[in-house]
Each structure stands twice: as structure tokens, then as C-alpha cells.
Subunit: 341 residues, 3 copies
């Protein structure tokens, strides 16, 4: 049976624990000293948007597993694929590899790709919706340090469009972490997601003061996207959303960031013992090795629910881009995961 | 002895049969289960024009043979190679690999590359001239289904600029297939090629009605290139050149297309049993594995004729781009393959 | 201990001899017949500027050593990395591979990269400063032919901005070669470098007549960069800086060029026995195999001196791009290698 990894929702707590456990094994050994084998398999990267970290860490993981890679970068893709539907491109691309990682600006694109291709698909980011493998990498970095995942975590910055924090919040809630959302009022965590998480029995708070994160075990910082706000609105918040050494140097609060950063973490933080953002990069390779290993060997089970036919009102949903019906699961669009009412 | 694959003209019928036979063997086994070896060889892709399918399927084929790949995409090439002559680039590139696939907008560019480099060269498309490996892949898909190649085949769409149909028509004629050319009058199959094919003893017809293809074993569809016609001319033909489910659903006519498609095959066709365009993609990998295997192992023989010196009048011919004499073989330019009188 | 290769200054004469000796071994054997192993290591190419030769020859060398590669091309990089500091990108990238080759427009960028990353770094060109591996490749081509390196060498063309000639002149001086600099007066070899070389006890001359190179063992030609001169100044020199067959066909002077060439070597020279520019390309692969082998196996020692803190006045120096202090070694900036007074 083929397994895809499209949304953090597809995983149960013990699936995630299995991934993190295997990642720990991969991390603790020298890649050169042992000969891991994924059987001459080929990982394909199908990226319609710029990426450095996600693409390269998947490639590095595949190469360190003894596998091979092919693909094309985002700049090429825009010119090469011009005029071809996403669905045709996916069907085509799936014949060149054994496992594919897809990044595309439309929400739900990865889910559609998994239905169209006979090989396993991993979501490398579908618009502002999900980025499940980043969330798994982040959980791993936290667990390596804190040895547990039922913590108090602050998620800060752009919580509206940041797909990484969407996936991460869902995963943390699964493990019982309380969450403090810190953002400007214009970039609040989506309310439908907040409700969903609150129903999982954890404590959820909102604030717009970054210093409140001092009481948390983890401060997960993201970039405030200047281009999505008025100049005036940006001027008002930009200085409230910088992690300063003076505030966090004597703290146990882990400082994390998915990178790239602009100015939201002072460079003076970089050498402090609680700065974790470059460790996150390093940890991303063993986590993705574990994912590839489990998926290619059919050892990762994902939940699948009952669905019925419908229309999705979200214009950024891939079902509208491709002019097709959606599937509705528990009142949500199966593709973009937005509630339908 | 080094072997190149530049034009479908270089191959005899039994060479093609050898390629198709080996491709069938590669197709029927699981790539993971056996360890094929091309001896740590490196395949280089030198692409001056956009490509997804040709480049990726060659790369996939090489990786599945246990080999390695390097190269650069078209977007980079335009900036990287700026100002350097094609001939210098080819000589340089040939030192980095053991086999190269070349795509370049000038007709005859691949032939020139094969003369300049000490390693085997495969033509991945030289302007509107030849695309021999695509033709071999298409033959394979047809033979897998029909078990023979002396059929009745309709080639439809842009028959003037479509290099794929040029190579394919020549190959089909070699196997005795009758050919029905269906195109708008402005995009007719080149008359010099049509005569050449007719002289091979097959029946050649022309038409502008797509429905005539219903009587054929295969309908090979290509994109009508809107940008090469007047708006008015395009409006007139665009609806005549769409393969519709209502016309072809109860038919044994295989529907093929080199992809990407725009609107010339209705999506409703995709799941019909006679739709073959995604099978073509899948089949392209074992065919290219067979080609790489035969070429790297020196098992593919190509015909070489006597030539004399001359000047080619075709301005798109690489000999004019590089300001050099051509070689004339049987009244044709050896490079762009156009008749000289 | 980790070894970097950042500047030709880091190498002693016997280090260079070790590289050239190992390169000769790699050159003399068939890559396919022996199974060299660098232990499943991954070479990463981090290129912020266009490159064909440097990137591809490193990739080819790594693949021929049994290793693997990843990276991204220059076009992508500009969009992907937008807004991220060089230092963050380097730290990130270093977690994906075991050895990295860096090309960046700022002088001293490779030195900074070597300090920030835990893996070995090779300088693939840092602005107009250094290109040490190209110099080693060039030395190898010369030694293969002349069997010695204490020669008389003419360096011609753009000697001001050409990083290749900077590194090469330093290396030749180390081996006792006398040097004749031939350039337009506006593109003279930098005086601080000329003095440094002259102090090594070799004879240094300057001229603006290319024919003076006839008495030399080697003429190393580079492109006159039209875009860096006035139209008038260019018109004046352009015809003086073309290597013509009539001048060099009966000569033992080796004609070399790092490529790409525009018009500074007539194509009629290409088949002469003293033309070496395509041999340089071929030789670059075994030299880079030797470098990778020595560096990954910790066998290349580089000199490290004492440094003190300071400010670098060179605005193209990476220390100014990154707003940081420099380190001063023997009156020079450790990064961009310019004298500080």
C-alpha cells in the first residue's frame, strides 16, 4: 500500500513518535560509516515555488540514504511548464521517480497530486495551508532538547499565512502543548484552526506582546511579511516583533525560526545556548531520512476518512484552479482543509 | 567505436527493433529488484531550450541504470553561456561526462555536437528538425498495444514545425505504416519530407478534418501553435482540432500526444482505454534506458554516408549560425537535413 | 582537522606539488575501470554567480570519485535567497553536505564561509579576488606539457579584475616563473599584488604588445571586458588583444585561456598543436578530483597565520557587506586580501 504525507492531520500521535524515534537513530550515527539502502530509488522534487531548505534537505536526506534525486527548481518550472495544467504535470512527473515532494501555491495541490500519481507524495508546502514535514522537523528539535512535547509554546509573527505554524500548532496540540499565539491583530492565527485546536483540550491564548514568550518553553518566531500589510500597520508592529538578546539571553526559552529570517531575531542571539534555528536546519536531514525510509518501505500509516462530493468556496483551493468538485470530510474540504460552511 | 543518435535517418529497421526489444525487457522488470550497471558513467544534459519531459526522462533512465547525471536547465544556460559559441560550449561540456543529450534551437546543432565531441551525442531536439528519441518512445507505445507497426496512423496538428512528427513519420514509413496528415493548410507537413516518405512505398494522404482519424489505428495529436498563426486563422481551425470524447470513446484508435497539451484533447478522454498519452510518458523511461545501454556499450550502429562540401541556404541551420561550410549527402545538408536545391 | 582551500596563499609549494601529482594519477586511468571511493560523501555547490565550468567540473570530479552532489544554480539563487544574509545561507547550506564549493561576488566571502561552516569550504571564485582551483588546474596543464614550472609566462588581457590571473600569478611566482603582464593601461595587474610577487625573487615585466608573448613558454590569454571600458578605449585596444594564427602558428608558446572566449583567440588557432584551452577543460576534472580527495581525507594542510582585529576599507569586501570587523594578517585583510594601508 502506498502512503502519502499531505497534512499533519493524517498522522496519529504514535505515527509521529515513530518518525521522531527513527530520526533520532539516523541523527546519532555517522552517515559515512554505515551503508543505509533504499534500493536505488529516485526521489523527485516538483517545486512550483522558490525553496532552498525544503528541497535541499530532502535531497540531502535521500542521498544520505543511498538514493538518487532528480527535479527542477522553481525558476525553471515557471517557464517550462507554462500553459500545462498542474494535474498533467503531476501525472507526467510521477513516471520519472519513486517518491515525489511537491510544492505548489494552491491549497490542496499536494492532496490532488497524491490522488493522481501512483507513487507516494509528500507535501512540501501547499500555499498557506500545510507544511507537515517542517512541523515534524521542529517537533524533533524541541524533543531533542526538552525530552517531552507537552510544553508551553509561543508561536509568533505572521500566524495567518504561515503554513509552518499551522501544521506545527496542530502537531503540538496532539501532544498536549499549550499554545500562546503572538501576532499583530491583522495576522492572527485562523479562527477555524484555533477552535479546532482548542477542542483538543489544550490551553490557547492570544497576545501581541513578544515578551510574554519569556514564560514559555519555546518561542517559535516567524517573519512578519511586510508586503502583506500597509506601511503604517507595519511601522507600528515591526519593533515589537524582534527577539532581542537583552530579553532572552538568560532564559531557558528555546528560540526557534524556520528561516530565512530578515531582522526578527537579532544576530547577537546566534551564539546563545538557547538559539535553536540553525540546529533546526541540521535536524531536518535525519527527520526527512526517517520519513523517506518509512514511506518507501510502506511503514507509515495515514488515517483516511469518509468523504462526500461538494464545491469548495476557497478560491485558492486547487479544486477551483482545476475546475473540479471537491471531497468533503467532516465539514472540511479534503484538499485545502478549510471548513465549508 | 563511438555511436551517436542524431536523426531517425541514421537508424535501420533492425536497429530500431533492437531498441524496442531491449526497452520491453527493461519495462517488464522492477527497477529496484535488479542491479543494472552502466559502469559509473555520467550522462550530461546540455539543454539550450526549455524541456521537462526529455531531460527528466533521460535523467530518470540513467539513474535507473545505476549511472549518474549532471547538467543545467535552459534558464541558467541562457545567462551562463552568454556570448560563447555553441561549438566552444559543446567541446567544453563533453569533458565532464561520458554521454551527452543536446537540445538547441538551431537545426543540425546535434550533428555538429557529435562531430566536435569525443563522447557519444544524443539529439534531444534540434529546432524544428529532429527529435529521434521521442519517435522511438512513440513507436514503443504503439507496438506494446498493436503488436505491429505496419498500421494506419494519423498525425494531426502542427505538422510544419513539430520535430516530433517529422521523426515519427520517417520511422513509421520505415515499418510500412500508411500516414494520414491532418493539419490546417498553413501548417502542412513539409513537402520535401512528404515526398521522401512517399518514395518509401507507403500511402500518404492529407486532410484537414480530425474526424477522418476515426478509421486509423492511431491518432497522434500535437498542439496547434497559436502564436505562429494570425488570430483569424487560428479562430477558424481551433475547434476542428480538439479530440472529443463523443468522437473517439467507442473507438479502437489509440489517442497519443507528446505533451504538454493545451486544449487539443478533452480531459474527459483521460480515463478512456484508448488514451495513451500518459502511457507514452511512462514508456519513455525504458526506451531511453535501452538507448543509453546500447550506446554506452557501443551496440548501436548508425549508417554513415559519403559527403561533399557545400553551403546550406537554410538560415536556421547551425552551419550558418557558426559561419561554416556544410557537408552535402544525397542532395541534403548533413546537418539540418534540408534539400539543397 | 578540517581543511579549506580559500586562497592560493594558503598553499605551500609542496602542497601544490602533492595536488598535481595526485591529479596526474587520476588523469592516467580510466574512471570507469577503477572504483574510487570517497565514502558516499555529498559535495554541495553554493553559487551566487553564473558558472558553467567551475560548477560542472567540480560536480563531474565528485561523481567520478563515487560521490554525490547537490546545489542550485545562479539564477535560482538570486530569487531563492532574496533577503537572506550570506552568513545565514552558508550556515544553513553547510548542514546539507560534507564539502562545499562557494562562489559569491564579494571579496573574502569564501574565507567567511569557511569560518562559519563545520565542513570544508573550497573557494570557487570570490569576486575579483581569488580563484585558487582554476590556478591549480592551469598549473597542471602547463606542467603536463613543459615538465617544469620555472618558466617565462605571459598573462594577457584584463589583469585588473581577472581573479584567475591573480591566483595564477601568485602560484607561478612560487615556482620561480618570470612573468610578463600584457594589458591595456586601464586594466593593469594590481600594483600591490605585483609588488608582492616581485618580492618573491622573480622577474616581472609589463607591456601592452601581445606579440611580446612570442618569446614566452606560455601565453595565458583572458577576455578584455568591453563593459568595463569606454567605447573609445575599447576600440583602441581590441585589435591588439587577439591571438592570431599568423603570429603563433610556428611557435612553442602554449596558448591558454580560462574560457569562455569572445574573439580574443582566432578560431583558426583551435587545431594547432600549441593550443591548450580545451585541454585545460579536460585537465580540470582530475585536478579537482585530487583536491576533493585530499580535502575530504584531511591530507591537505594549509598555512594559518596570526591575525588581529581591524576594519577593511574595501567596500567590496564581505566584512563590509556583512557589517563586521575584519582580521588583519601581515597588513592585509584576511578576507579580501587587500593591503590595509
Amino acid at each position: 500500500m502506498e502512503t502519502d504525507l499531505i497534512s499533519i492531520r493524517d498522522l496519529r500521535k504514535d505515527d509521529i513518535e515513530e518518525v521522531l524515534g527513527l530520526a533520532a537513530k539516523y541523527k546519532s550515527r555517522s552517515p559515512a560509516s554505515e551503508n543505509i539502502d533504499v534500493g536505488e530509488k529516485v526521489l523527485g522534487t516538483l517545486f512550483f515555488e522558490p525553496s532552498t531548505r525544503t528541497r535541499l534537505s530532502f535531497e540531502s536526506a535521500m542521498l544520505r540514504l543511498g538514493g538518487k534525486t532528480l527535479g527542477f527548481g522553481s525558476v525553471e518550472s515557471s517557464s517550462i511548464m507554462k500553459g500545462e495544467r498542474f494535474s498533467d504535470t503531476v501525472r507526467t512527473f510521477s513516471h520519472y521517480c519513486d517518491l515525489m515532494v511537491v510544492r505548489h501555491p494552491s491549497e490542496g495541490s499536494a492532496r490532488l497530486a497524491s490522488e493522481l500519481s501512483a507513487i507516494p507524495v509528500i507535501n512540501g508546502g501547499d500555499g498557506p495551508n500545510q507544511h507537515p514535514t517542517q512541523a515534524l522537523c521542529d517537533l524533533f528539535t524541541i524533543e531533542m532538547d526538552k525530552k517531552r512535547l507537552d510544553l508551553k509554546v509561543a508561536l509568533a509573527g505572521d500566524l495567518l499565512y504561515g503554513r509552518t505554524v499551522h501544521s506545527l500548532a496542530q502537531a503540538l496540540a496532539l501532544f498536549g502543548s499549550d499554545i500562546l499565539f503572538i501576532s499583530p491583530s491583522s495576522l492572527r492565527f485562523p479562527s477555524y484552526l484555533k477552535e479546532e485546536i482548542a477542542q483538543m483540550g489544550i490551553r490557547v491564548e492570544e497576545d501581541d506582546d513578544l515578551k510574554k514568550a519569556k514564560d514559555c518553553d519555546v518561542l517559535y518566531m516567524t517573519r512578519i511579511q511586510k508586503e502583506r500589510m500597509s506601511e503604517k500597520a507595519y511601522e507600528k508592529v515591526k519593533n515589537c516583533f524582534v527577539v532581542r538578546k537583552e530579553d532572552f539571553e538568560d532564559s531557558d526559552t528555546l528560540i526557534m525560526h524556520p528561516l530565512p529570517r530578515v531582522n526578527e531575531i537579532e544576530r547577537e542571539m546566534d551564539d546563545l545556548p538557547n538559539a535553536r534555528y540553525f540546529d533546526q536546519v541540521r535536524d531536518s536531514v535525519p527527520v526527512r531520512m526517517a520519513l523517506i525510509d518509512l514511506i518507501l518501505n510502506g511503514k507509515l500509516e495515514v488515517c483516511e476518512g469518509e468523504t462526500e462530493k461538494g464545491k469548495c468556496p476557497n478560491q485558492r483551493c486547487i479544486t477551483n484552479v482545476e475546475s473540479m468538485d471537491t471531497k468533503v470530510e467532516k465539514g472540511r474540504c479534503l484538499y485545502c482543509e478549510k471548513p465549508l460552511d
